[in-house]
Symmetry: C2
């Protein structure tokens, strides 16, 4: 148990629901949180969008397991950050507050786009822009009056510069080399055959899979590996950096103090991506101050829960991005 | 019945199997063919590639229905052109010749990549290059000694310049305009909302579908509609034309007489695509003579069947592209 002290405080529940499953903590404002409990099953998306029943199915046992170690008497506040909340969150907004009240007695609920929890985890309640990149890519910014969002449209419509985008571009360059078309890279062709076997078989291996974006993104680190010696790979990462800076610039407040931060697993690719990205951000957003991300999306959920428990949420409310349901005064 | 005359000639079976189903004719060399019979069910692709059992299931009733009107006593030759033959045709090559012999008494079988039937239908046994474009895109060329193929890798790995590629690029430009990122087009955004409703809902409409490439390709004509007045749309079609010319140049014989032809539904988009494409082909392949496609892939299957029946196939054999099984002498 990682909460300071014991006793019957009023706790909160903070959740991060993403492509690799759920992460949940219980905390008490000012006294920290438990260690996270995780479920590796991603919440299903059905015809009605993100499935609130499936989320609750996974959440209940995690919370029941956390309650004894948290030692709180009740959970007054719950913050659920979820991938797809903005576009696929209608059923969650309609049903989750009631379900959380019934199951845990929760009274104040915030349903938050994962981009907003990523922002809050990285920068907290400061104006600026955050680029969150893993398999996909989204930029989110705020002047503390409203949220702006750029990209995050998924691997077929955008996510320009994200892991699937970089991996896809790398594989396209490999196949150009195979075919003798311009823009090919023999180095990337060799890496592609190391990773996936003969390229003639690649379509048969990729298309039947349900996790195509993740398969594409798995090739992104190979593009970075080639960047030092291969101009095509270097060009792909430069273009990815340009797309990221375009998205950051589209959401960053143009005036006043602004902070820019990067968060998400893609940035573990290191200098091959970060060096061109710093250059492109400097060019596009010279007024913004670059700061390292303070934490991840679960930290963002915890921070929003803490502020809500104190009735002091400084971040803008927005039905799609940060939807807060408070108890009816009666 | 469209065969000239009647009687007990030695007939052939010609098949085109693609994304929209099967098309089948029976013919007699020198006497034409029946009208095509079609099945609207595309042949399944499973873990073993294209499923020979599913193809036969659909083929048998079509052939049984054609036989009376064709009035042939036996089917000596069968040519099956199929999408995916080169990469997903192992089970077909292993099982289809035996199945066709057992069911119809066929002795000579050719299993042909759809790119080769498209080539043959367009140019016949002449050296050159054919760009075949619909939802996808492949270029195929021959010097009559061997086949060369470029692109045709599907919507995530290539098919650069094809229908899904153009539609995807158009939707990306629409979403750039929505987000305020560079490279956006307000005209394409308006068309996207006309076609698909509010763009916030587009990911939820597109990603759950099994026919995502076709959905993307359905937007390609809207890009063409905007090209006259919108520079972003015009730029997308210019880049598509450049990709097509790159693929054509990668497969066209560099020396000697060469013909270049375009085939497939994408070219119905008209001048918005064809004008830049003619310019790019002229630039990349000045030595090649542009000729209109004589026919489609089913015509290519018929032509290969006719030549095989005459023991006079002038096109190069190739296990992946044009695989001919003839009766064992013994």
């Amino acid at each position: 148990m990682s909460l300071n002290g014991t006793g019957a405080g009023d706790g909160f529940l903070a959740v991060d629901s993403g492509g690799s499953g759920l992460r949940v903590v219980i905390g008490v404002p000012g006294r920290g949180t438990t260690a996270p409990r995780t479920s590796r099953v991603p919440v299903r998306t059905g015809p009605r969008g993100i499935d609130p029943g499936h989320l609750m199915e996974q959440l209940v046992p995690l919370v029941r397991a956390l309650e004894p170690e948290a030692g709180v008497s009740r959970l007054g506040t719950a913050v659920v950050g979820a991938a797809g909340m903005a576009t696929l969150g209608d059923a969650l907004r309609a049903e989750l507050p009631t379900a959380l009240e019934r199951e845990f007695g929760v009274r104040t609920v915030a349903l938050v786009a994962d981009a907003v929890t990523a922002y809050t985890g990285a920068l907290g309640p400061r104006p600026g822009a955050v680029v969150a990149a893993g398999t996909g890519l989204v930029a989110i910014g705020t002047d503390l009056t409203s949220w702006r969002r750029a990209d995050g449209w998924g691997h077929l419509l955008g996510d320009c510069g994200g892991g699937a985008w970089i991996g896809r571009a790398g594989l396209e360059a490999a196949l150009r080399a195979h075919d003798g078309r311009p823009g090919g890279s023999a180095a990337l062709l060799a890496r592609a055959e190391e990773s996936f076997g003969p390229v003639r078989e690649l379509p048969g291996r990729l298309y039947p899979r349900a996790d195509r974006p993740a398969v594409l993104a798995s090739f992104a680190p190979r593009v970075a590996d080639c960047a030092e010696s291969d101009p095509v790979a270097r060009g792909i990462l430069r273009e990815a950096a340009r797309h990221m800076a375009d998205s950051a610039a589209a959401v960053c407040p143009a005036e006043g103090q602004a902070h820019v931060s990067l968060t998400g697993g893609l940035f573990r690719m290191g200098a091959a991506l970060l060096v061109p990205l710093e250059e492109e951000l400097e060019r596009r957003l010279p007024h913004a101050r670059r700061v390292p991300a303070a934490g991840g999306p679960l930290d963002g959920s915890v921070q929003i829960a803490t502020e809500l428990a104190h009735n002091a949420l400084d971040l803008p409310h927005d039905e799609a991005m940060l939807y807060v349901v408070t108890p009816k005064r009666g």
